[in-house]
């Protein structure tokens, strides 16, 4: 047990109690005991002064510590943190003719508040709490259903969570009750989930906005306010597609609604991280509800009576990235582990090392994989542009060996689609056909110059 724990136990003091402290430096202090974060000196008492500042004082230098008032007591000068439930009073206008939508919250920065265990932020808010923090929403939409199936970071998402979200969303999109839906999510893998929703909910031609935030709601510059207001506008629009709706630029002026299969996180921290790739945005969406369609190929919203969401997903798929001196044995590994599909992210137009005399040639390994019945798809690691098997002869050889060139489909989208396709179809030919079909705008043949 460390010094700090002993000190607090001796004084019977715990988190958020108001205490008086005397130190051997001669300081006499009063403040609230803040929970000790895991980072930093574990023997330092973190005290919140009446000025609002937090500061650390070494337990070894504290001569005296007395509880002045227990947490929550009336005499505690500063109020204890508002309980999470305290914010659960979603203000709804009494007569409500606003369009109805459903909201599903899954965690991420948009749901984050400070976490005393680590000193960082953590996803704690549920759907209703997120919506309540954005009063602008209540003027635009009637959120008829709130769902918070789980609260996790986006890097912890798996296909199991995608399936859960798709099931909840499908239920809400069936019938005439809701115009569309909003899914809030962490941003790191938002584009994977977006692609998953595109395929799993492909029969549901209603607007589904996937939204995140790059700045947490505990700051004045929270970008989620505009993202959510624009998402609400999108979810009530006549567009029948899934899209990521987030800042188009660094300014708080409008969002892009980017097709959910053609979008990617392109910056680790900027607000405008989500940019359409190999596609123009579906629309520009303003927080006042204005929508300007900017893509010539947009599905129109349709009512869905009842359909079964296609939530099947075979997790025996992997992405393999090629780079100088990369070892083709990784392909053999996946084959030995009974993987059914591989997306190879090749260089340039979709190449792998394959000099015949060279030990690091990938061709033999890829041939063996195809022979073993593994679907091998090729995308480009350039992110923008297409994979093309006809320009250089090695690519032709790969193609002849059975590698499927996936044109301008993004690697992440291809990965999600392959896992989904393997669960929809039993035989190899059908899987290949489904992969080649344009299900949710994942292929865009015509790239405009811009």
């Amino acid at each position: 047990m460390n010094k700090l724990v002993r000190l607090l136990e001796k004084a019977n003091a715990s988190g958020l109690d108001r205490v008086s402290v005397k130190t051997s430096d001669g300081l006499k202090l009063e403040g609230l005991v803040m929970p000790r974060i895991e980072y930093g000196d574990q023997d330092c008492l973190i005290l919140k002064m009446d000025s609002g500042y937090n500061a650390g004082f070494a337990a070894g230098k504290i001569d005296e510590l007395k509880v002045v008032a227990k947490a929550g007591a009336a005499s505690t000068k500063a109020k204890a943190p508002a309980k999470e439930t305290a914010t659960k009073t979603a203000a709804k206008p009494e007569t409500n003719n606003l369009p109805k939508i459903a909201m599903i919250a899954t965690g991420g920065t948009i749901a984050s508040v400070v976490d005393y265990a680590t000193g960082g932020v953590r996803w704690k808010l549920d759907a209703e709490q997120i919506a309540t923090a954005i009063p602008e929403l209540s003027n635009r939409v009637d959120i008829a259903a709130f769902h918070s199936p789980f609260r996790i970071s986006s890097e912890d998402m798996t296909h199991v969570e995608w399936q859960k979200i798709a099931e909840v969303c499908a239920k809400e999109l069936s019938g005439e009750e809701n115009r569309g839906a909003i899914i809030t999510h962490g941003t790191d893998t938002l584009h994977f989930t977006a692609a998953a929703m595109s395929f799993m909910l492909s029969q549901y031609k209603k607007p589904v906005a996937l939204v995140g935030a790059q700045r947490s709601p505990d700051r004045g510059s929270f970008d989620g306010i505009m993202n959510m207001t624009c998402a609400a506008a999108y979810a009530t629009s006549d567009i029948g597609e899934k899209a990521i709706v987030m800042h188009a630029t660094t300014n708080d002026d409008y969002c892009y609604a980017a097709r959910a299969t053609k979008v990617r996180k392109m910056h680790s921290s900027r607000r405008d991280a989500f940019q359409p790739i190999n596609d123009t945005p579906l629309a520009k969406v303003w927080p006042d509800g204005k929508i300007e369609k900017t893509n010539s190929c947009i599905a129109t919203r349709e009512e869905v009576e009842s359909a079964k969401p296609l939530v099947g997903f075979d997790p025996k798929v992997a992405i393999v990235k090629v780079y100088p001196s990369s070892d083709p044995e990784i392909v053999e590994f996946y084959v030995s582990k009974k993987y059914k599909g591989l997306i190879v992210e090749g260089t340039g137009l979709g190449h792998v090392p394959m000099d015949p005399g060279h030990k690091s040639s990938w061709l033999p390994a890829i041939k063996r994989a195809v022979e073993a019945g593994v679907y091998v798809g090729m995308t480009t690691q350039c992110i923008s542009g297409k994979a093309n098997q006809f320009v250089y002869s090695p690519a032709r050889q790969l193609s002849q060996a059975g590698v499927h060139y996936l044109s301008d489909m993004l690697t992440e989208t291809a990965y999600v689609k392959l896992g989904w396709a393997l669960a929809q179809k039993k035989n190899q030919k059908d899987v290949a056909e489904l992969m080649a079909a344009n299900i949710a705008g994942e292929y865009n043949e015509r790239h405009e110059y811009y």
Binding site: T23, D25, G26, L27, L29, I37, Y39, G40, D41, C44, I46, K48, M49, D50, S51, G52, Y53, N54, A55, G56, F57, A58, K61, A78, K79, A80, P81, A82, A86, V114, D115, G119, G120, V121, E136, R215, S216, P217, D218, R219, G220, S221, F222, I225, M226, T250, N251, D252, D253, S269, R270, R271, W286, P287, D288
Partner: protein, 635 residues
């Protein structure tokens, strides 16, 4: 200072100062941008909106709520090299700048403060737009300590290190608020200043007079300068004040930049508070206001050009023209005579209400029934009576009017009524801004609720070894004493001037072997200033140029008299060598002897005095008087 109120009872002034000093570190506090203010035009513009958020303890700060209630859009200009993704709130901050932290520790030691064992960076909510993130990063470094003044000891509360805000360029931006929710226009800021490290020193409210406030600020200021790590010039140091008079609330006064008027600023604020407290005794406990009345038709009769110009043609707002500017008024029960009560010279209680109206709604000000309406606005007694009637003023009531669009007018008059309603409580807690020697209402006083931990920056543990290694620079007094002793030998007056403003440069150049310290002091404190006043570009006087200049002097390459033209030459971009070559090099003893011999040959029998005088007259810049004396005397 002891004030006497109208009943003759004594009121004590209590004042604490917060000094904010910009540091001259290489980089900003949390990013790699340089810390110089950039004259360069912006290379990009960013537009943002900010919202009020709750603090760590779940409480919304009143000041934050006030600003966010205004829902403004902000524009940020990004100068090259001094604004990056951190400044635009697009990238997490770097670690706390250690150079800035060391300076803060140095300052803490000089103030006898106790440094905390672990520093936590906090976010202080600011939604006036001056920070792109909606908060200012700040950290408590040390607690306690003192500074002595001739009026007594002043305790130190805290030493903090924090980010500078961005500099305001324009209080309103064009076109803002036109779309979306139709909000009021925002402001334009430049991001070069945002994030420059500041050391903030807050004293206890031990200060009892304006004069003591000025002395304490001066002492702390010179202490900060002695670290050699602070920026100099206008705006690099500013004082905020906390002033109260006995029994009254604390008032924060922001942005006092001129040390010269600090004493009068403090004394005036105390007088104002005393007068507000006196007025409280006459103010009604309950103040009723009428509904807002449209008095546009009555104000249209006013002859003052600014009213005529402001009121929209057609006057009153209609459904079709909601933004039409008209005149709107309310009555305030029991306020006749109070609005005209003078608090300070040219500052009446009406002026206070006017500042509230301006801050709440951005209106130009208020017009009220205690003013000389005919003289100021060309409103006749008859019209004034009609306004009183329209607002249902009874005897003893006052009316207040605003010329603005209806939405602004409603907000402004609501602010006026709410301030008038608490007039009976005396001094209210508020933040005011320093305007010369007086203060003006700015916004409600922020509370501790606006603090939130900066989750993106890890805490910094201060090891005792690190603290021991921090050196305390000599104080102003110590340096002044040192400079009068050997090897410097400056006069007491010059020593103080150098210690105050030039000690770092002085000590650097004084290391040049054979240099005359008095020559350095005169050059730094007088010659350069004189040359600048004549219009020369003294920014060309780099440390390297001055080093060369002093080295040449030490090597007797020029005379004292040539200092001015040489410096003027360097200011035009020439090297010291180049200026010497243009006829300013000091003549050797041999050359001086030759001049003397030549003059003697021209004027046989010339008296020694005349010989000296004539040569000095013609060769003042290049002949050293001592060399000449020696030559004249034939030595």
């Amino acid at each position: 200072m002891t004030l006497t109120d109208h009943t003759g009872s004594k009121q004590e002034l209590k004042c604490g100062i917060e000094i904010h000093q910009r540091l001259a570190t290489k980089h900003k506090l949390f990013c790699g941008c340089r810390t110089v203010l950039d004259e360069a035009p912006a290379k990009a513009t960013v537009r943002r909106r900010l919202t009020a958020v709750t603090g760590e303890l779940g409480v919304l700060d009143p000041a934050a709520k006030f600003e966010a209630g205004r829902k403004r859009e902000f524009e940020y200009l990004l100068p090259e090299n001094s604004a990056c993704l951190v400044d635009t709130d697009e990238e997490p901050p770097f670690k706390l700048n250690s150079e800035a932290l060391e300076t803060a520790l140095q300052v803490a030691k000089m103030l006898h403060s106790t440094v905390v064992d672990e520093i936590f960076v906090m976010r202080k909510t600011v939604v006036d737009g001056s920070a792109t993130s909606g908060f200012q990063r700040t950290a408590l470094v040390a607690l306690g300590g003192y500074v002595d003044t001739s009026f007594g000891r002043v305790g130190i509360q805290t030493v903090c290190i924090e980010e500078e805000s961005s500099g305001i360029v324009n209080a309103a931006i064009k076109g803002a608020g036109a779309e979306g929710n139709g909000n009021a226009a925002g402001a334009t800021y430049r991001l070069d200043r945002l994030g420059i490290p500041l050391v903030e020193i807050a004293t206890d409210p031990d200060i009892k007079s304006g004069a003591q406030a000025k002395e304490a600020a001066f002492k702390i200021g010179t202490m900060l300068r002695s670290t050699g790590k602070v920026q100099r010039g206008i705006g690099t140091i500013r004082q905020d004040l906390n002033v109260s008079v006995s029994g009254g609330n604390r008032v924060e006064v922001k942005g006092a930049q001129e040390l010269d008027v600090l004493d009068r600023l403090v004394d005036n604020e105390a007088k104002r508070q005393s007068a507000v407290a006196a007025l409280a005794k006459k103010a009604p406990k309950k103040v009723d206001a009428s509904d807002v009345v449209d008095v546009t038709a009555l104000f249209a009769k006013a002859s003052a050009p600014f009213i005529k110009k402001a009121i929209s043609p057609g006057g009153t707002a209609t459904a079709n023209s909601p933004n039409a500017v008209g005149a709107y008024a309310i009555s305030l029960s029991g306020f006749a005579g109070l609005l005209g009560t003078e608090l300070l010279e040219n500052r009446r209680f009406g002026t206070e209400l006017s500042a509230y109206a301006k801050a709440a709604a951005g209106v130009g000000g208020i017009i009220h029934s205690d003013e000389d309406l005919q003289a100021k606005y060309g409103i006749s007694n008859d019209t004034a009576a009609q306004i009183a009637k329209a607002t249902e003023c009874k005897k003893g009531d006052a009316w207040v009017a605003v010329v603005a669009d209806k939405r602004k007018a409603m907000a402004a008059l609501a602010a006026v009524h709410s301030r008038a309603s608490v007039a009976h409580e005396g001094v209210v807690k508020e933040t005011r801004r320093a305007v010369g020697e007086k203060t003006e209402y700015m916004r409600p006083l922020p509370g501790s609720a606006r603090m939130y931990p900066e989750t993106d920056v890890p805490p910094v543990a201060i090891a005792s070894k690190m603290l021991q290694e921090v050196e305390i620079p000599k104080t102003f007094e110590e340096k002044t004493a040192d400079y009068q002793k050997k090897p410097f030998g400056l006069s007491a007056e010059m020593a103080a001037r150098i210690a105050k403003d030039y000690s770092e440069q002085f000590e650097t150049y004084a290391q040049i072997s054979g240099i005359d310290a008095n020559f350095i002091a005169t050059t730094l404190a007088e010659t350069i200033t004189a040359v600048r006043r004549k219009g020369a570009d003294t920014s060309k006087l780099s440390q390297a140029a001055l080093s060369e200049f002093f080295e040449c002097y030490a090597q007797k390459k020029f005379t004292k008299s040539a200092a001015v033209p040489i410096i003027e030459g360097v200011c035009t971009g020439k090297g010291v060598d180049e200026t010497l070559a243009s006829g300013l090099a000091r003549l050797s003893k041999k050359q001086v002897a030759e001049l003397v011999a030549k003059k003697k040959a021209e004027k046989p029998g010339i008296a020694a005095n005349a010989l000296f005088g004539e040569i000095i007259r013609d060769y003042r810049l290049v002949v050293d008087p001592a060399d000449l004396s020696a030559a004249v005397e034939g030595k």
